[in-house]
Symmetry: C2
Subunit: 235 residues, 2 copies
DNA sequence: GAAAATTTGTTCGTATGTATC
DNA sequence: CGATACATACGAACAAATTTT
């Protein structure tokens, strides 16, 4: 309920101290859903004002460490995992670094053949079903470049998910998110049909459990996408 | 100076609206160091109180989008790239997901052979020098497991940097950071000497511009590290 | 180097909207 | 539906840090 004892704080940016203590408690074993208290309670316990606590809470929330709810039985809890927040952080950093589209594609060339072969080895039926669903979905909007691009990238993400490796999955989501805006203009219908065909082949290899073929097909596929896009700044 | 025009806002969590607008402007082309205004100015422009702006600022700061400075000519600016924030975001995410050490190593198995071969193709003299420096540094602390692990991982990061791909570089930094704590205990001196020898071979292949050899050596190296570590939760 | 100006950091008090009981 | 618990938001003020004068 409330075994954790907070040290009273004083220093430059008191809210930083609050953040640090809650962060330590988080990495010290707090689990998603664990109750932290209300803003008023925390203000009293840390010996600071409610506004200082709010500063800390906003930061912790942005980092994905806590969730905030209003109303009775509201207050602060340890957050559930939320990939969006991690993805946003990666997107921001890639933007600041001025990373190019080519760099992101190259990174995908490294990752995706492996996710495909891992998926072929160990994808569950549910995961396979989801991969197949992304192909169907993309096929339905084959004439709409923006929509097709979006759902086509979903295929790659679904394959990564089927790999069973959450580190690769999260990383790939981040990469596809950042490159999405640059892909759309080139997804004309002829190209789109070819992409669907290749996705289907890759899916079949994965479903057949043919690791080597899945790896090779995905490798060719990602490399061809890379060739089709000229060197451009990403953002 | 101030061409960006902010829409006035109203809705649930007004600060979210402020965050979204500044975020859009950020991805819309604002550059690191660009001036956004003071908290008071933004409060007036958005038509909200300064406290609401502060909520937004704390979130934007945590996401790595803005930097805040106090004093005359202080206020909000677009942030410089800061890898630490990205790394922290990834660490939080992996903690919440309960990702295993093995998953992270697997991800490295996908990425590092490519960084090695890319480095062999295009590393600058300066980058090569830095790779060599990490080997020397690791060799100097070969009896100290924690220090050796740290500098040994620096080798992998230096190779990724030498690849010239910042997306891979940033990703690898994050991965090595979260796995560091689990690696240290296993870096006994015998193992350490073997690692140094392999790192030297990889460096030589990169310096010789032998892409294929660099790729193969790195592949073997990462896979052997993977074999040596049992399946364990990362955190 | 000291004083003034600027700007965030922090506090208190209060009002309002919203979710739960 | 009313009461309660809680975050959200506003305003006014002073403290502390930093740059300019």
């Amino acid at each position: 309920m409330e075994e954790t004892t907070w040290r009273p704080v004083r220093g430059t940016r008191v809210s930083e101290e609050v953040i640090e203590q809650i962060r330590e408690a988080f990495f010290g074993g707090l689990q998603p859903g664990d109750w932290l208290g209300t803003e008023t309670e925390l203000a009293e316990r840390f010996g600071v004002s409610r506004i200082t606590i709010r500063d800390a809470v906003r930061t912790l929330e942005a980092r994905g460490i806590v969730d905030v709810k209003v109303g009775a039985r509201g207050g602060l809890r340890i957050a559930e995992a939320d990939q969006d927040r991690f993805i946003d952080a990666l997107a921001v950093q890639l933007h600041l670094l001025g990373v190019t589209f080519t760099e992101v594609i190259e990174a995908q060339c490294a990752i995706e053949p492996l996710t495909a072969s891992m998926a072929a080895r160990q994808a569950t039926d549910e995961q396979l079903r989801r991969v197949a669903a992304t192909i169907t979905a993309a096929n339905e909007v084959i004439g709409d470049p923006a929509a097709f691009t979006e759902r086509s990238l979903d295929f790659h993400i679904a394959v990564a998910e089927a790999s069973g490796n959450r580190a690769l999955h999260a990383t790939l989501i981040a990469f596809t998110t950042v490159q999405k805006p640059k892909m759309a203009p080139r997804a004309n219908e002829r190209r789109a049909r070819r992409v669907v065909k290749i996705h289907e082949e890759i899916y079949q290899a994965i479903a057949d459990g043919d690791e080597e073929r899945a790896r090779t097909l995905m490798d060719d596929h990602v490399r061809s996408v890379r060739r089709e896009h000229p060197e451009t700044p990403l953002l």
